[in-house]
């Protein structure tokens, strides 16, 4: 066991996989020598050499497209896209090739690769550095979309992501890269993709969330306690395939559900969860499922972010509305 933040936990996961599997390679902009702009890959080039951990030229479509080629040829590439907002030049490779190579060739060629990037707001960044594109990627058949919320989960989920034969979009909540420290096993362990986690049990309201907002939900739940509301928190861990069972069971128990996420709300992960609430728990619903999410706008620049970001207080407000319905 060591105390790790998420950056360290991820780095540790890479270290373990690089050490045990020579087919694992890592690359992207500034990933090698510098160890990435967030230092998530720091020290790995030195340890494993420039053939295995390296800088690429500045072109996201190429990073993903060549990564796919490597994967088809038998490697297990982990590619980094520098920020959420810079994943889009690679969108065509992801949706048209990465996600479907296995289907296109009926399994003749697989695409075991991890496409990882820091995502989300609250770091006072300029445009394109604060986005939450999970809904886009979750809508694409053939991808698995994973988002950890703690250092422990980051490590365990990353190891699963590297080991699965399906391509994985791995979104790293940058605002908690270093904000949460935790005891994490130094050994190799993995957390299954596709299973949600009950962060805390409760009876009145289910909060469904993931990534950086799990912590905000915990704060909100604490506040809600004072109002006499018992909150259950479900951390999805995986956006696709979504864990319908855990989500459904929790909602059937509480009868009230609030979805907490940062992306624009329309046509989003929030919409899908409302749908699942209906499909899995219609007769238990005591109030219409609600979303507390981003507006249908771009994440504002730093000065405007305070309006956009979902805060514990806003979560509490929504819970009270739900409760009083």
């Amino acid at each position: 066991m060591s105390v790790m933040n998420m950056v360290q936990a991820l780095n540790n996961a890479f270290d373990i996989k690089l050490a045990e599997d020579r087919s694992v390679v890592m690359f992207g902009e500034d990933v090698g020598l510098e160890g990435g702009v967030f230092r998530v890959t720091e020290g790995l080039q030195k340890k494993y050499g420039v053939e295995r951990v390296f800088d690429s030229p500045l072109a996201e479509s190429a990073i993903v497209g060549t990564g796919l080629g490597m994967a088809m040829a038998g490697l297990r590439p982990i590619v980094e896209l520098q920020f959420d907002g810079f994943t889009y030049p690679a969108f065509n490779q992801i949706i048209s090739n990465v996600s479907r190579m296995n289907n296109r060739t009926r399994g003749m060629y697989k695409a075991p690769m991890v496409i990882r990037f820091p995502y989300g707001g609250a770091i006072n960044a300029i445009e394109h550095h604060s986005e939450s594109p999970e809904s886009l990627y979750a809508h694409i058949p053939g991808l698995k979309v994973v988002v950890p919320s703690t250092p422990h989960d980051a490590k365990g989920l990353m190891i699963s992501a590297i080991e699965t034969d399906d391509p994985v979009i791995f979104m790293e909540p940058k605002r908690i890269y270093r904000a949460i420290k935790q005891e994490v096993s130094d050994e190799k362990f993995s957390i299954p993709i596709g299973k949600a986690k009950i962060v805390q049990e409760g009876t009145d309201i289910t909060l469904i969330t993931f990534g950086a907002l799990v912590r905000e939900c915990q704060k909100a739940a604490e506040m809600a306690k004072a109002e006499g509301i018992s909150v259950e928190i479900v951390d999805l861990r995986t956006i696709y395939p979504i864990d319908r069972e855990t989500v459904g069971a929790s909602i059937r128990k509480t009868g009230r559900v609030l979805i907490v996420a940062e992306a624009p709300q329309s046509f989003s992960v929030g919409s899908e969860l409302v749908t699942i609430a209906n499909e899995e728990a219609f007769l238990s619903l005591e109030a219409p499922p609600r979303r507390v999410m981003g507006f249908d706008t771009i994440v504002p620049l730093a000065q405007g972010e305070k309006f956009y970001l979902v805060t514990p207080e806003r979560i509490l407000y929504e819970m009270i509305q739900l409760k009083n319905y």
Binding site: V25, A62, G69, L75, Q93, R106, R244
Partner: protein, 390 residues
């Protein structure tokens, strides 16, 4: 090195044979024996036969669509003869002939155009990627594969294909750039068949040719007469050597002409002239190789092997000693046998097992998510209901 002698920046075109089949640049003539030439012609003839029949199957309403390779056979025959089993073929969608050469069966190709993904699940071919429809995107896969080749110190070369239109896509440039920076073994081919559907290459780019784009990425490039089998063969030989020697990637522009329609849904008369088509008719790659064989007394069928290597002048040829008809005497019979083979393959594709519901779901993931199983089960319930209603 032909790459030095034919600098694309000076818009030089590498040819060995003229339109009449005469060797005009003997110093570059590759060492090919009559047997090889014969095989080349036969493989081109087979591809052409299959190609024409594919179009006719489509016309008969037995196949959905098909992009003819008519006129581009020499490029693919040359590459097909030089590509090794372990080398990688990364096609776009107009590479039927080299796919066959690399072990893909015609049945599989037909199956694909009959609308079944199993046509991209090559049973015998090794290291062949499926047809890639999003233009340019396959070029990046090739560069990535070549990275693995270098990483694992393998003795393989990667052969991606693209059209003239495809060179405008960002992925084309990115792929060349990454391959050059990484110094990986890729022989990039551009089949410049003068059109991207209706758009002529002159409206596609203003560069003096397509091979010169190699300059932007720091790799050798050459513009080759794509209808000249020998020039293509020689160019591939040198390019492959370069790549296999670890010197990095190479770019080959094969200058050719799409004699057919873009696909069976296209009508070229909308955008090009009969005159232009006629001009290129004279440069037909099969015709040219045939002329060359006749000039050099190389017969279509094997029996002539003893006669070979003797260069006869056209005059001698026409003097009646050996007539054209004698040399290519078996061609019609050969075509007939090819047709039968093509038809066998087509029927095998047509009679392939019926598409099942499971085929829609089974391969979307290696590990099928519960969600997909649920959706499938829902659908099966619908099917039962439907059955019951009958």
């Amino acid at each position: 090195m032909i790459f030095n002698d034919f600098n694309p920046a000076e818009d030089k075109l590498f040819r060995i044979m003229d339109d009449e089949g005469r060797v005009i640049n003997p110093e570059y003539m590759p060492e090919v024996n009559p047997e090889t030439i014969r095989k080349a012609y036969q493989s081109m003839l087979f591809a052409r036969t299959a190609d024409l029949m594919a179009v006719s199957y489509q016309r008969q309403g037995r196949m959905f669509t098909y992009p003819p390779i008519l006129g581009q056979e020499a490029i693919q025959a040359a590459a097909g003869m030089l590509i090794r089993r372990d080398d990688w073929l990364v096609p776009a969608f107009r590479e039927m002939a080299i796919m066959l050469a690399k072990g893909v069966s015609l049945k599989e190709i037909f199956l694909y155009y009959l609308g079944n993904e199993e046509g991209s699940n090559f049973k015998d071919a090794h290291h062949v990627l499926p047809i890639c429809v999003p233009i340019g995107s396959q070029y990046l896969h090739a560069t990535g594969i070549a990275y693995e080749v270098k990483y694992n110190k393998k003795d393989e070369v990667v052969f991606p294909f693209i059209g003239d239109g495809g060179t405008s896509e960002g992925d084309f440039s990115e792929a060349l750039n990454f391959a050059a920076v990484w110094q990986v073994p890729v022989v990039f081919t551009i089949q410049n068949n003068q059109y991207a559907i209706s758009v002529p290459v002159q409206r596609q780019t203003r560069s003096i040719n397509l091979a010169v784009k190699s300059v932007a990425f720091g790799m050798p490039g050459i513009k080759v007469d794509g209808n000249d089998f020998f020039a293509m063969y020689k160019a591939y030989q040198e390019a492959i050597q370069w790549a296999r020697d670890g010197k990095g990637p190479v770019l080959i522009e094969a200058y050719t002409y799409r004699k057919g329609a873009h696909t069976t849904s296209d009508d070229p008369s909308k955008y090009r002239t009969k005159e232009e088509e006629k001009l290129w008719e004279a440069k037909d790659p099969l015709l040219r190789l045939k002329k060359h064989m006749e000039l050099n007394n190389i017969s279509l069928m094997e029996k002539e092997e003893n006669v070979a290597q003797t260069d006869l002048s056209p005059a001698e040829l026409h003097s009646g000693i050996i007539t054209k008809d004698d040399l290519f005497a078996g061609e019609d019979t050969l075509i007939e046998s090819y047709k039968e083979e093509v038809d066998r393959q087509f029927i095998a594709a047509e009679t392939f097992r019926a598409y099942e519901l499971d085929d829609v779901f089974k391969h979307m993931y290696v590990e099928m998510p519960d969600e997909l199983a649920r959706q499938k089960a829902d659908y099966e319930q619908f099917l039962r209901w439907k059955e019951a209603r009958r």
